[in-house]
Symmetry: C2
Subunit: 457 residues, 2 copies
């Protein structure tokens, strides 16, 4: 690219029609001139060759992505982070790049959106091998093309008749290997103990040893019994993650038999597949997070989890289960909060999704999670913290509710535990009360939960 061509890929943000562009923030490490790298970056994302040979046309004004801000963060450095890139074009500069991408190039389509914002143009731009997509902003007219969540946080609360506290989930364990009958019995016990939502593990699917039809039938029946016994609504969250062309059929089969929410592994199944299912869905759709960490974990490469949270909300998930606090999940506190915010913040006509930050949770991790989020609009999703509880899942669920009662009462977990044996047993099994969430999974080795669950009766 000639220096005289660069200007075609730069613009003053204030001069642009905001409704015509997506705004994208990237971290970029480049060698050579950062302005040239930024111009290439926009060219590669949009109209890489902007005129035919022999023509004096210029496709950039309408179709070109534009640099609207370029900040040098630091440099020059001797080499790229993470050992990628030769750096042979000169010293390495770390930049923060904000670009405006004309969405009319591809339209309100998730696969094409992904191809534009984290595709070949983004990751193969000359001289810039280290890239992380940090954030995305959508104009209202683009958002208006999507349905987003059908129920959202308010709709889910209405269904559960729970308005003033977090939603209590539990992952039924053993997650893999139980027949439907045993699995349903565990779910029933956990609802009686106080869970709102008993859920399939993200790895449990429609198999010969635990067919979805039979599981949904038995869990549906157990759920209705639990609703009668407790007098409050309950949800069985069935995992229908499967091939794309089975999703609608599995939705119908699971819902007809008694599942009243559905889990789909967002990235392995694909965001677009869930947008398709959303058009048909009669129950809340909930996302699980496998296959996001491999492109999101590193600080300076890949795609930020916040972006994927926004895209899952746009695709129509009412609930987004995500990696939570604590060293086990390898997320900074700020990153977890950014994802929760991305679920709840205003997003044009798109309803909020309920954030469910998870990972090695038990009664002792509820208070720090609540305090770090600063809202009751979240879900709490223990697995072994309920189903590995030494007194069984009903007691495990009770220990979670007791931990919330202690918070409401303004008492410490230890004080409350003196009058609540389920909570006391949870503390004994899973660790000391964790006032510092960050310390919790360390002191409470996840392995000890398996011990408590798998060992003594």
């Amino acid at each position: 690219m000639k220096a005289s061509d660069w200007a075609g890929f730069f613009a003053d943000e204030a001069s642009l029609d905001r409704e015509a562009y997506l705004f994208l923030d990237y971290y970029l490490e480049c060698s050579g001139d950062p302005e040239l790298a930024a111009a290439h970056f926009c060219s590669e994302q949009s109209t890489a060759q902007w005129r035919r040979v022999g023509s004096d046309e210029d496709l950039r004004p309408r179709f070109g992505a534009r640099v609207v801000d370029l900040q040098i963060l630091d440099g020059p450095r001797p080499e790229f982070s993470y050992g990628v890139g030769s750096g042979s074009d000169g010293p390495v500069m770390a930049c923060r790049l904000r670009i405006a991408h004309p969405h009319g190039n591809f339209g309100p389509r998730l696969p094409n959106l992904l191809s534009a914002i984290c595709g070949e143009g983004t990751f193969f731009s000359p001289g810039a091998p280290i890239v992380k997509l940090l954030d995305i902003e959508f104009p209202e007219t683009y958002l208006a093309c999507f349905q987003g969540p059908q129920f959202g946080v308010a709709g889910l609360r209405e269904r559960l008749q729970v308005h003033d506290r977090p939603i209590f989930f539990g992952v039924i364990k053993p997650n893999i290997g139980l027949p439907p009958e045993a699995f349903a019995e565990l779910g029933y016990e956990s609802w009686l103990g106080g869970l709102d939502i008993a859920k399939d593990d993200e790895m449990l699917t429609d198999t010969d040893w635990c067919p979805l039809d039979r599981r949904a039938e038995l869990l549906g029946e157990a759920r209705r019994r639990a609703e009668v016994a407790t007098g409050v609504p309950k949800i069985y969250l069935a995992n229908i993650t499967d091939e794309v062309d089975r999703l609608v059929e599995l939705h119908d089969r699971a819902v007809a038999r008694g599942a009243n929410a559905l889990l789909i592994n967002a990235m392995p199944t694909g965001l677009s597949a869930v947008r398709m299912l959303r058009k048909h869905a009669q129950v809340p759709l909930m996302a699980h997070f496998p296959f996001i960490a491999p492109f999101a974990r590193l600080e300076r490469f890949g795609v930020h989890t916040r972006v994927f949270t926004k895209l899952q909300r746009l695709a129509g998930y009412d609930v987004i289960i995500m990696p939570g606090f604590g060293p086990r999940m390898h997320m900074t506190d700020d990153e977890v909060r950014a994802c929760a915010t991305a679920c709840l913040e205003p997003m044009g006509p798109i309803k909020p999704s309920l954030p469910v930050p998870g990972g090695s949770d038990w009664a002792g991790t509820l208070r720090p999670l609540y305090e770090k989020l600063g809202t009751v609009d979240f879900g709490f999703v223990p697995g072994r913290g309920v189903f590995g509880h030494p007194m069984g899942p009903r007691a495990g669920a009770a220990s979670i509710r007791q931990a919330w009662e202690a918070i409401v009462a303004g008492e410490t977990l230890e004080e409350w535990a003196k009058r609540h044996p389920e909570l006391s047993a949870a503390i004994a099994a899973f660790g000391r009360p964790a006032h510092d969430q960050a310390a919790s999974p360390q002191s409470s080795d996840p392995a000890s939960e398996a011990n408590a669950a798998g060992g003594d009766s």
Copy 2:
């Protein structure tokens, strides 16, 4: 996990029923005892809690993933690679881990397969924050559940009547912004010059300024004219990347109008969506590679491109476009070869896919690509190397065919160029003949191609 529990997640590979397991190779950095980390890794991938509280059942023999090999590569190191993980449980050891994962846990379903092999269990296993999935082996019975490519390499060669050389593709440029009429004219010229396949860019979709219907109609008509003019079959490869629930409809509309192969961006659209389309497809399906680099670029984290190549072949792609040789694409030569091998090697009943390693190609990069692959079973896919050629796309395509003629004749590119003006002009525009592919994109700055294309007539 108690030390006595570890053994349940280890096995002698020779003692296992090979048809019941996927075999997975991982790179792993862990703190603490590598054997404990490996046992946790298998537990998290499969039956994380293998008995109910109060029961003496053991779900591991049938449902547990098993460590079949664990090699310490190096260590102890003071910290994890890439600044992830606290390392507080002790020194960091780098390992190569081979595990057997019982596929009966989830069955022959791509979303569930992805969730199992690179999901939460893989990337959130205690003490092992740095993981890369390096390879996967499928048993015959698992492969037999998939259709794989419908045409494969042999079927594609039959359609094109090309049996003894690489297949010549070209990405029509300008990629974004041209109306269908101008776009079709470029395609026509490139076929006359000698391309086998003129293709849409991976970012070009069904938009108001270039609707797929009109594009397929005009390109189809141009293709038929080119077939008459040249006497040989040609392919127009239309990009139908779009929302999942439009794929079948777009297939029908594009094929009815004259597209005779279809491009889908594999990861943004989802592997499962293509498996769905494969059941319906009447023409070859071709994959493009956006959204793989963020998983795959780093040496010690994420998922190896070889794994994605195998999964794309399994999903049914006849052609797999992938990042090729040279520093622009940030792939080692071995990695590109591994992906090409993954396309072509025996895979039970699954046909081979044609590998198309791409990136800044022009006539001068054909010989090194051929020499590095050591086979004619590949596709060559220039963009600006054809459509930015200073004499226009017909000459650009001719320069590619001339480069192949030089190889067949055993002549150097420079010698051959003396009698072939199109090749001579390509050398002048895009760089000196590249006998060393690695040096080519450096000497031939990608920007200079845009210059040549966008500047002089």
